[in-house]
Amino acid sequence: MKKLLGAIIALVVFANVLSSGYVSAEELPRDETLYVGGGLWSQPNNFNPLTPWAAVTGTIGLLYETMFLYDPLNDKLEPWLAESGQWVSDNTYEVKLKEGLKWQDGKPLTAEDVKFTFDIAKENGGVGWAPIWDWLSEVKVVDDRTVQFIFSQPHYEEWTYWLYNIPIVPKHVWESIEDPISYANTDNPVGSGMYKLYKTDEMRAIWIRNDDWWGTKVFGKPAPKYIVYVIVYSNNVALSMLVKGDLDWSNFFIPGVPDVKSTYNIVTWYDDKPYHLPANTAFLFLNTQKEPLNNPDFRRALAYAINPDEIAARAFQNQVLPAKPSGLLPVPVFEKIKAKDLEEKYGWKYDPEKAIQILDSLGFKDVNGDGYREFPDGSPMKFEIIVPYGWTDWMEMIRIISEQLASVGIRAEPKFPDYSKYWEDLTKGTFDMAINNFGSQVYATPWQWFNWVLYPDVTPVGEPSYSGNWGRYKNDRVIELLELINTEKDENKKLQYYRELQEIMLKEVPAIPIVYNGAWFEASPAHWTNWPTEKNPYAYPISWNNYWQMGGLKVLLGIKPVKSTTSPAETGTATTSQPAETSQTTTSSGEGGGICGPAALVGLAVVPLLLRKRKR
């Protein structure tokens, strides 16, 4: 029997190994390997930079690089592949590339590659940045290192976004690929970045440092020789890996972190609540095409009835900040345009009495005595709030909202459809109220944020809409303002327009901001140190798809190995404070990152079981 058992196991292991196709016997050296997780939800098998939303995290950033980075901590667009970039006339933007750029196969990266990157989007509508060609007319190569973008109608704000979101691809590789949209690009992809793709399998993507990286002399060399980006399907596994020091850098939302943080020396951005930087605004979208949600006063009453503080505490254990009425994230790019006076004047604060007062005055009263208000004509009034089933913190969130609304007499039942149904209701406008945050993150330009929240091109109810403004709020002035901001160069005028937009939002309440979802970041000090934190704020520490250029890359350049020889006993000794190294990191502002549009990738999420927690 033992023999049989042995034979079976041997056979099975053998079959396993054969099928995975590996031959080398190798264990990655722990001290040179960085384990990262939180932005990979399925087997890594797509490294196509032209479809950033489907690509494995790191495809843009580690492998392919953008011309600029965006640093949300300082609201700075920072040159990366570019040396400089500016508007040389009203409709021409000129980029000068750095000297000595080269691809991982040794060929030089030139202006031709930049031109090619844009031209390929002209021919293939599925490329992420194809819509640019609606307002871009030509990409002109001036010399090897200089490119000019000539616009038919410059969209200044949108352009800023693309500057740090378009990965430059090598012409000599991609020009011969037949269907570039569905090309998986898994065999030795050639990028220009600081890491090369090493191996992938069911559980991870492994990156190896590009020791020949052009940027070494400019930015230095990233410390980890290998990056293992792990797939972790459930956050309980993520937590146990983190406390054991098996996961160095986590971008998961992990319940319970506040409880165990000090026991295991887990590094978070803030030592105390809210623990994390903000990443996006979670809104309660109200269907403005339905009675009585089409009434701004009614919507305002709802806003008064909802208490974001309680939601942040109960649904998120205070790992998030409650949102202010403007919904603008507390980061510099938004602070810059935020009209605090208007928020004071037209905003609201949790005040159920005030809500009751408004509702009474609108004529929504409880006439049949069931504890809930009816329409002024006496017909029953009932709403449903939806979030995808299994997104547990959101489920908790709408339960609390439902309670809070009930206490002012509004019946709003929490409902948990499966993700696909939720998505259908949301995009077709067939819901009453819904939580969503897919496009409300930090951008280099607030325009992008407003353009999602108040997205102008909404379809009629019943037809799918592809961007935000799920409540289908319509306002001609808003459409005009969004257009004006996008095409305006003058910063002061823009500021005025932004003020006007905020005033409309505060007065009209198209959607109610609830909380600022966190840029979840938990790091283990066991093997790597000098993590960015509030006290050492050198980078926005997120490794999600399209967030590398917003700070993830800087983290790689900033972290240091704890010791070159690690013994298992050491785990507890490395503490978070490494004062000696702090000074040096403050200078590392060389890169910047941007957020990214299709960051929604991370939200993919459909796995009810596991991760429902993936909020970017």
């Binding site: 264990e27 399998d201 399907y233 499966d418 696909s420 592809y466 960051a599």
Partner: protein, 332 residues
Amino acid sequence: MSGIKRYLTRKIVIYILTFFFAVTIDWAIPRFMPGDPVAVLLSRFATLPNVAEHLHSYFIQAFGLDKPLWEQYISFWNALLHGDLGISIYYYPKPVAEIIKSALPYDIALLVPSIVLSWIVGNWLGALAGKNRKLDSYLMPVFYFLTASPYFWFAIVLAYLLGVKLDLFPVSGAYSYGIIPSLSWAFIKDFLHHWTLPFLSLFLVQLGGWAIGMRNMIIYEIEADYAHYLEALGSSERLILKHAFRNAMLPQVTGLALQLGLIVAGALTTEIVFSYPGIGYVLMQGILNQDYFLIQGCFLMIILNVLVANFLIDLLYVVIDPRVKYSYTGGE
């Protein structure tokens, strides 16, 4: 002889028909599910409406979802007969066959040993309990408890006790993230280390079921007329038990074959608890993302497995049990 031939011919016809129906259902079911799979795929793209719109039609076309249903059905069979299971939507652009190929070894590694070993040990313990009443009164409740436990709950308990409390085994994955699969001793050790907990939880729960089955069969056989007859003739208890055991084995072998047929679907929840990258998990992803092609591929695997296992049992019965007349009897 011709009887057996006719029996087999009939069986084969039935299997072919069953296969046809099962595959048709397999094809039909995901297509009538609510929701638009491409829209869900593109929901990752919510900030770039123009591109999303463009890609929507691109994908609908690429996956052939714009064609009339009958055309989709025919091309499905056509591709199937060429071994082409299509391209996964969720794991786009990876072919389904490849996804299954890379996930299958983990299922085999986990399920074959757990099923076979639990069968061997379970039958052995069950037989012991069957012939020894004293032992039986202790063991039977344990067996029942094991077989009554949900797989994943048992997995949770083991993970809590052996993984978290005692820290003896890792609680997730098929091997360490830092090791590259190879035939080295280090890797095999690591693999087995990760394999232990999921294996144990499957092994123990299944063991209960086998043991109960065997115990009941043995008791039944011991009390059967022929056993009393043998006893009256003065045969040794050993001989009687031997006979009883042999007769009791038949349904157990059937059960084993059926269980092996269910290999793919069997460990779904366990795979989820331990993040074990098998087909169960892949199937789950497919369903949650309305990935038609992935769902179909996984189901096809399952159907084929079960059909082959059933057919083997039929053959076995012809060999072992000449009394087979109507059909094989299933045993639960």
